[in-house]
Amino acid sequence: MKFKRLPKVLVLVSVGAISACSGSLPSRTAHKDEAIYSATIDGVKRDNLTWANAYDAVIAKTKATSGAERNEYLHQAEDILMSTGAIAPIYYYTDIFMKSADMDGFYSSPLGYKFFHRATVGSSTDYTVCVGPKGDSYDPAKNSAVDGAIVISHVFEGLYRWAKPASGDIAADLEPAQATGFEKVAVGSEGHVKYTFTLRSDAKYSDGSALKPSDFANSWARAASGKLGADYGYMFDCVVGYEATAADEDKYLPLSGVTADDNAGTLEVELISDVPYFLELTAFPTYAPVKLANVQKADGSEDDAWWLDPAKYIGNGPLKVTSIDNKEGGKIEFAPNANYWDNANTKVTKLTFALTDDDNNQLTNYNSGAYKFIDSVPNEQIDSLKASKPNEFKINGQLGTYYVIFNVNDNTLNKKLANESQYVTFRKALSLLIDRNYVCKNIGKAGQEPANTFVGKGIMENNDGVLSEWTTRSGVNRDGSGYFKVGENDYEANCAEAVEMLKSLGFKYNEKKGSFSDIPTIKYLYNTSSGHKAIAEYLQAAFKPYGIKLKLESQEWATFLNTRKDGNYSIARNGWLADYNDACSFLDMWTTNSGNNDAQFGR
């Protein structure tokens, strides 16, 4: 987009530079968006649909239905997605960290947001931890990083919050926080629902001023607004009025579905459908109530630096920031918020977040006792730490999947494969040749589990009152068998099946050598990092005996993202972390026009 505005000479230079780093650009060919997909909508099964008529239509149904019906549409979306073979899940992510053995009272949300305000280290209530580097912004509306969310979650509190689990480290339930409870009723005939939250009458900001329902309504309008243009503005897309607010670039247009009554102390929120994750969203940082007077300058314009000033960075959470030095090697200091409603449970007297992105430096400080908790561990140290500090090295589940993505418009094999259906078979065969158990044990090393679904482990679904894990109902038979077998003993059979599939495509197979002789070399793209490189090299080694040659190519992070997004690759590494605990957080992204549709489905 940017290049169009460059003068001619520079365009030539830039195109040269891009093709030099990403190889020749694949041209779009005949197999682009062939009508080969099937979907069952309103009980009618139709075949030979384009991507938009199959996948996009099913996703649209998930927005208009609820409960078990909606879950079935979500499962169907995953069926269609996996039928393309373009997504080859490798493993479900885990969250690893080091925690001092005598730290007590710590917990984490399912999204990996860590909470320290209730934790003590031995008898100490004043300690330092490191959860990541300096933040880009600790403004609840603008932040989109996990470490930023951790800071915000200590300083702000939503209508609901994650409850400290009775045992273990990971919170599973939400509990009333700034709200004391809610009522939910169906509204109209379009499937809308309305939540009416009752706020705590004693709710206050840390500066002692009253926190009113309108503070929530105003903060939400700001966060969702086109004027602010926040990355996570779309987190409000289930609220009635979001489209208009997001389109308004001049003011924080109030969300029409949100009504605050400061006298009654209630907040009404109308949603476009009964999304099961809405209560969880009210605990999400983007939904936090900021003090609007503090985020704006006297003339009403945004004060972009308000969050860097402890006097202005006023929240309503358990802690308040007393000093902030936001840079690499800097730190943030917190003290208890005297005006918080639940201070009986706050244990720390002072909490310090050290800010650094170097995991070796973090580990050195952890080993010396300077830090009591670190959120990342150098990959090469995992084995030795697991052995030497088993009580401190922790592995938690995380809602995300590491996967290999195929560009459906890639034309590398066009001379060998006639149509998209053959490409599907080819991609599925390659996926079967990956020994996911090996990758988890010998490369990931952090307790990852082999994946045979795209929707991550830990995602829950509620079928009319029966709560179950998504992966236990995954696969076309809804029996938890996933989309292929990933047992320790299944690999051999998988490989044999892959060979048969490749033979069926007409590739020349040498029975003696057990390898194919006429499969063109394919490029595998990954971003520069030792972990991704190790997996890329594993894939190369795993495919080689079968005569499938991978040419590895690494790119620097932002370049890589750009190349992948534009579809200038054949196969690439990919990974996805959910924004909230619902399968749609994994499935909405594959609609034709989604900015995250890196596989280029339907394009």
């Binding site: 940017k2 520079l10 912004s137 086109g226 430096n361 050195t364 750009n562």
Partner: protein
């Protein structure tokens, strides 16, 4: 003579100015050519949001308009706001803040390197072909050859992990000890070798023999006749060296957790934070250009035989 020197300086300043304009221009277009932008992220922002953000930071304007706007501001040292911070901090304040660490550590390291380097180099030359000379040469060769990431890792492991006598982060003066030492090691060794060879040259020359012959004492020969001449190559080296060392070392800053300018620079490129990349580039160019200029002039002062062109 002074008029000549003044003219020389004026010419050099103008050239330096031209250099800076060229650097601004090349950098400006080069960063725009790297694929990706400041709003590229794993989770894509919607096209509408992207358009709004680009408008907010003036990135929607034609590139030449952006360039002209930028040039106008950059020449009066207004580098604008960091995009990555979403407009929260100015590039100027980032430079000022990071430089206090890089400059403190860099200047101390440069000072140590010059003082100890010259002393050791002279000692090695006067004790030519003795054990002292050989020990100094072996040590300095080793220091030049060992990359700083190895030295810093070993020091960090020993002092912070095993003995736990120094902090692993460079925040108070105790935290400065290891990074300054690590940073000074390479230039120190280099200066040692430079001083040694130039001193050996000088000590073998006719005028030194003359000085001894007319009855000058050893110390007089050393300070009056030899040192000044043998320092010429050191001065040529010292200017760029100080600029180099003060502008930060990514490796040392990263390993010791110092919030310096080196890692900030690398991060700004990774983030495609155009204003920050530009601001840092221009600032570092100024520093290097000034230091080279100063060392050229000093070179002339210690060695009047040098002809200015």
């Amino acid at each position: 003579m002074n008029k000549k020197l003044a003219f020389y300086i004026l010419k050099r300043v103008l050239l330096a100015f031209l250099t800076i304009i060229i650097v601004i221009t090349v950098t400006f277009f080069a960063v725009q050519l790297i694929p990706g932008g400041p709003f590229t992220s794993e989770k894509a922002v919607s096209p509408e949001t992207l358009a709004r953000l680009e408008k907010m930071y003036g990135l929607d304007k034609p590139i030449f308009i952006q360039y002209i706007n930028y040039l106008g501001h950059a020449l009066i040292f207004d580098f604008g706001y960091s995009i990555k911070s979403r407009g929260a901090v100015t590039v100027g304040s980032i430079i000022a803040d990071r430089m206090q660490y890089s400059a403190a550590i860099g200047l101390i390291a440069a000072f140590i390197a010059i003082i100890i380097g010259v002393a050791l180099g002279s000692l090695a030359a006067y004790k030519h072909n003795t054990t002292t000379d050989r020990v100094i040469m072996v040590l300095s060769t080793a220091s030049v050859a060992m990359p700083s990431f190895i030295i810093s890792t070993i020091l960090l492991y020993l002092f912070c992990n095993v003995w736990q006598i120094l902090p692993a982060n460079g925040f108070d003066w105790r935290g400065y000890i290891l990074p300054t030492f690590t940073l000074s090691l390479y230039p120190m060794a280099y200066i040692t070798r430079l001083t040694r060879s130039s001193t050996l040259d000088v000590l073998g020359s006719d005028y030194i023999r003359t000085a001894y012959a007319k009855g000058s004492s050893f110390s007089r020969v050393l300070y009056k006749h030899s040192l000044r001449n043998s320092l010429t190559p050191v001065i040529t080296y010292a200017g760029p060296m100080i600029a180099f060392i003060v502008t930060g070392s990514l490796v040392v800053e990263k390993i010791y957790g110092i919030p310096g300018i080196g890692r900030e620079f690398v991060a700004s490129i990774t983030n495609r934070d155009y204003p920050e990349v530009m601001g840092l580039t221009i600032f570092l160019t100024y520093l290097v250009v000034i230091m080279v200029l100063v060392s050229d002039i000093l070179y002339k002062v210690v060695n009047p035989r040098v002809e200015l062109e």
